[in-house]
């Protein structure tokens, strides 16, 4: 498998749903490509298996702090071993993929700074715009079939 994209977030907590919203848009945009997209509420250990099969992984999540709609990107390396599986982070999931299946892909994390994490099922306008920017970047990167999705 080539690229795995995992969008994380709670769509009932306002801007926290940014990652999942981006993943749902990407699943539509990249349908039929050799890209697997997972839209989820939170990371779970079972995701270590498709992660280990990928050559490149991109996580998308909301972030608290920073200007609303600000997009941040950083590379990830496998680290850590949490005591519990209720709050897995991408680095730990990469670590699990490495320990269980002998491979962790090259990985990046996109975060989109949120503003309103209250009980609502819509994104604020600036966060929604940022979601579309991230989606456009990743669609472009995947269509160029380059290794890095930084695009």
């Amino acid at each position: 498998m080539g690229t795995l994209i995992i969008g994380i977030g709670n769509t009932l907590r306002g801007d926290d749903g940014a990652g999942q919203e981006a993943a749902l848009l990407l699943a539509d945009a990249l349908a039929g490509d050799t890209v697997e997209v997972i839209a989820c509420h939170q990371l779970t250990l079972e995701m270590s298996e498709p992660l280990a099969r990928a050559t490149t992984a991109v996580f998308i999540d909301a972030e608290y702090g920073g200007a609303a709609g600000e997009i941040r990107l950083r590379s990830l390396v496998p680290t850590g071993a949490d005591l519990f599986t209720h709050d897995l982070i991408p680095e730990t999931l990469l670590s699990a993929a490495l320990a269980l299946y002998g491979h962790a892909p090259e990985a990046w994390l996109y975060t989109i700074c949120g503003e309103d994490f209250g009980y609502k099922d819509a994104l604020t306008a600036s966060v929604d715009a940022a979601v579309h920017q991230v989606v456009a970047r990743l669609v472009a990167a995947c269509s160029r079939a380059i290794d890095s999705p930084i695009g």
Partner: protein, 470 residues
């Protein structure tokens, strides 16, 4: 004057709870309790809602076993509609329930309890977790991941998503099964069944090492309750209630599940938000009973599928009164669920398009009962003439085990805890007896951040004389 040890929160379970252990001045355990510290209130806030919302609303009780609530709720709504749902819908509902039980049991056994079983109750808590297990036995963890994935993927293929699918509806299911999906599920099963059997064989050898735990982990006589099929086999979806005593005496048999209130009473204790059901004919608290995998296997003649029946022969040789053997029973049930799914998918009418009975409410009261991973789950509703809920009673599987868990904590604390000098491993055993039941204390309220554990031993004058931190 007594001292109190508090374990708060209890870890590696679903939901939030604590354990308190009372010591006398010599450091000997005199009492212990299991407290569920979260309040949910579902029975009250659903009042006034349209009955057809109930499956979706009550499924939100839990993020691990939403399918179980969806199912029991839809069955209660079938009762309100007074319809008999199409046979194919019954089979499809059964498959989703079996997938739910298999994936939940895999989570309990591999993720939550295997660290204790494989690394040892006395292992360093920094290593005694699923990640520590990966370093020691990655093959076992990979098997657990695959089994959980299999159950989740079946749920997703049937219901559209892994958590909170809305496919089970009053009157049946919302969509029939396609040939392509059936074949995809069938293709997954041989590997999963192989993994389940390998794990069972491994554990059947390992279990001999836990003599102390078997003797003291809630090992006392109680009643056992669950649903049984007319063929005397496991009945995860339907069947009648059976209550059996530890000595094998059958106290209730072929009791229609709708009559649950005639044999089950519910008591509220001031130290816990979890209600304490009891067997009415014996009274409270002597009418203590257990449900779930151990109870189910203690009340049936045999599970009802080839490999599960073979594993059951080993189970029959165990001390079946000990709650430690919930783990063993869970592995047999994973086998049963996967094998039974395979059987159902080969039924000639499984792809039938007739999967839903349409009707308006025809009854004022409905009861839905099914087996959830942790035991018998009961939803009971009454509605007014507008179809709005006027009464809801939910008896959650974990609730049935409330009295047994509370007594189990005391038994294991007396056996292992020495208040004069606390050791983390002593307290881990107290937690582990709770983990054996795999209680689900409503995990839809997730904990955020680190789950700390600090136990202080305080002298009568208030001086902290010992502390254990995790």
């Amino acid at each position: 004057m007594t001292n109190t040890i508090t374990i708060d929160p209890v870890t590696r379970i679903e939901g939030h709870s604590k354990i308190t252990i009372q010591l006398d001045d010599a450091g000997k355990v005199t009492d212990a309790h299991f407290h569920v510290t979260q309040m949910r209130g579902f029975e009250k806030f659903v009042e006034g809602r349209p009955f057809h919302e109930m499956p979706s609303l009550t499924a939100r009780t839990c993020g691990i076993c939403p399918v179980s609530h969806l199912l029991a709720s839809a069955k209660a709504c079938d009762g309100l509609l007074a319809v008999r749902i199409p046979p194919t819908a019954t089979k499809l509902r059964k498959i989703m329930n079996l997938a739910q039980i298999a994936q939940s049991h895999a989570l309990s056994f591999f993720y939550l309890s295997a660290p204790d079983l494989l690394l040892g109750m006395d292992a360093d808590p920094a290593q005694r977790n699923i990640f520590g297990l990966m370093n020691v036995n990655p093959e076992l963890v990979r098997g657990g991941v695959k089994l959980r994935q299999t159950g989740q993927q079946i749920i997703e293929l049937l219901g559209g998503k892994r958590v909170h699918p809305s496919w089970i509806v009053p009157g049946g299911v919302s969509e029939p099964l396609t040939e392509e999906k059936r074949d995809r599920i069938l293709a997954m099963l041989p590997e999963a069944i192989g993994l389940a059997w390998t794990t069972y064989e491994w554990y059947a050898e390992e279990v001999e090492r836990f003599k102390d735990e078997i003797e003291s982990f809630a090992n006392f006589p109680t009643l056992f309750m669950g649903l049984v099929s007319p063929r005397n086999t496991l009945a995860m979806y339907g069947g009648d209630l059976r209550v059996v005593a530890s000595n094998g005496a059958v106290l209730e048999d072929r009791r229609p599940a709708e009559e649950y209130a005639e044999i089950i009473g519910e008591k509220v204790e001031p130290f816990s938000y979890l209600k304490s059901p009891y067997y009415k004919p014996i009274g409270y608290p002597s009418g203590i009973y257990r449900v779930g995998p151990l109870a189910r296997l203690n009340i049936v003649g045999h599970p009802g599928t080839r490999l599960a029946d073979a594993a059951f022969e080993g189970f029959k040789k165990l001390d079946r009164q000990s709650s430690f053997h919930y783990h063993y029973a869970r592995l047999i049930e994973i086998l049963y669920c996967l094998e039974r799914t395979e059987q159902l998918l080969h039924e000639p009418d499984i792809l039938s398009k007739h999967v839903r009975a349409e009707a308006k409410p025809n009854a004022e009261e409905g009861v839905g009962v099914s087996e959830a991973p942790r035991g018998t789950l009961i939803h009971h509703y009454r509605i007014n003439e507008d179809g709005l809920i006027t009464y809801a009673n939910l008896i959650i599987a974990t609730g049935h085990n409330s009295l047994a868990m509370d007594r189990g904590v005391l038994q294991v604390a007396k056996r292992f805890v020495n208040g004069a000098h606390l050791q983390e491993s002593m307290l881990n055993r107290v937690e582990a007896v709770i983990r054996a039941y795999d209680p689900c204390l409503s995990c839809s309220t997730h904990a955020v951040g680190q789950m700390p554990l600090e136990i202080n031993l305080v002298a009568p004058d208030g001086e902290v004389i010992d502390t254990v931190r995790r």
